[in-house]
């Protein structure tokens, strides 16, 4: 009986650890994706602006 409750507790702990790891991987992936998106939008903005910013009349 004691053995059984120990096993259940260990399964719960292992499942929680696995879930935490999944969440961590997901968070890292979202961060990397957003970072990449920011770089793409920044690069595209620079290309679209081109020399227009530098040539602006005062």
């Amino acid at each position: 009986m004691n053995d059984m409750s120990n096993t259940v507790a260990e399964i719960d702990a292992a499942a929680a650890a696995a879930e935490a790891k999944r969440r961590r991987i997901r968070s890292i992936a979202i961060a990397l994706g957003l970072g990449f998106l920011v770089i793409m939008f920044y690069a595209a903005t620079i290309v679209h602006l081109g020399a227009n910013v530098a040539n602006r009349a005062i």
């Binding site: 053995d3 120990n6 096993t7 260990e10 499942a15 992936a29 939008f41 595209a44």
Partner: protein
């Protein structure tokens, strides 16, 4: 003792369920993505007009990610079929490496982001075509036609044929007859390619209730349809050489490779029994991949050369 044994078992089983980066890459169907990249690049390089290399690269990334996202959504919806077919049983969802919810979120987020990126940073015609491609593949093909009609591949094949049109639209902001021709080549190529595979895997499709043509109409009708589609495909694939899309190299390759394609399709129609029949289907299936890759690779090289020398 019981605890130690259970502990090892629990650890092992949970380890199997943890997803890795590779599982999410697999969800995006990387082999299909390579064809999407190649055909979209061909559309982009052959289109009249100029595109800044950075914007062109962003367009290619968005198109590739959009294609991968639709692959993930397809695997999410088809998980029940995939687990019962030998060809697809090792995919991440049937293996328990990725949960269906994770695949849906992954595919959904990437779909929205790829369309918005293409629309905002390149142009909205290309963005709308990418959105149409993803929606067509998920709703028209995966959810509706695949389980309903033996013409699933014919109509659904349009989804795989859109990328050169999207690449073209990324440069020109329009859809033209030339880009529709590139679309039609892939559209007409898809049925003989998939039906050659379906002839080999018809028992799998029958077991999971997918009405592929060999299951519904029988192998003889499928073989006839493969030959008929091939007869339409080969001249269509030669046409770019006559309207200025392809050069001399493309013209020669499309005739030579087209003749081999027709020969293999003829063999599939002619040889109907035994191992030789299976061999003919395998030959056509593998050659059809080489055929499409080779034609579009030549278009890419010719398009790139023309732009560099212009």
């Amino acid at each position: 003792m019981t605890t130690a044994a259970s502990d090892a078992g629990v650890g092992q089983s949970l380890k199997v369920l943890e997803p890795g980066v590779g599982d999410f890459v697999t969800l995006m169907k990387p082999r299909v993505m390579t064809l999407v990249i190649l055909t979209a690049l061909a559309g982009m390089l052959l289109a009249p007009g100029a595109i800044h290399p950075v914007i062109g690269l962003i367009a290619m990334i968005a198109i590739s990610v959009g294609a991968g996202a639709s692959g993930a959504l397809n695997m999410w919806y088809d998980a029940d079929i995939d687990e019962n077919m030998a060809r697809t049983a090792a995919r991440p969802i049937p293996r328990g490496r990725v949960t269906p919810d994770e695949a849906l979120q992954f595919g959904g987020v990437l779909s929205v982001m790829s369309v918005l990126t293409l629309g905002v940073l390149v142009n909205w015609v290309a963005g709308a075509l990418l959105a149409l491609t993803i929606a067509y593949y998920l709703f028209i093909y995966t959810m509706w036609l695949k389980r309903l009609t033996p013409h699933n591949i014919v109509v659904g094949g349009a989804a795989g044929a859109f990328p050169p049109m999207i690449g073209w639209a990324a440069v020109t902001g329009t859809v033209s007859l030339e880009s529709i021709l590139l679309f039609l080549i892939i559209f007409m190529w898809t049925p003989p390619h998939f039906w050659a595979l379906a002839l080999l895997r018809s028992r799998d499709y029958e077991r999971v209730g997918v009405p592929m043509l060999p299951v519904v109409a029988g192998p003889a009708e499928t073989r006839k349809q493969i030959l008929l589609y091939s007869i339409v495909l080969v001249p269509l694939a030669i046409l770019p050489a006559f309207i200025g899309l392809g050069g001399l190299t493309y013209g020669i390759a499309s005739v030579g490779l087209g003749a081999i394609f027709l020969w293999f399709a003829f063999n599939v129609w002619r040889i109907t029994e035994g191992r030789e029949a299976d061999k003919a289907c395998k030959q056509l299936f593998w050659f059809s991949i080489l055929y499409l890759y080779a034609l579009f690779a030549i278009l890419v090289v010719e398009g790139a050369m023309n732009r560099l020398l212009a």
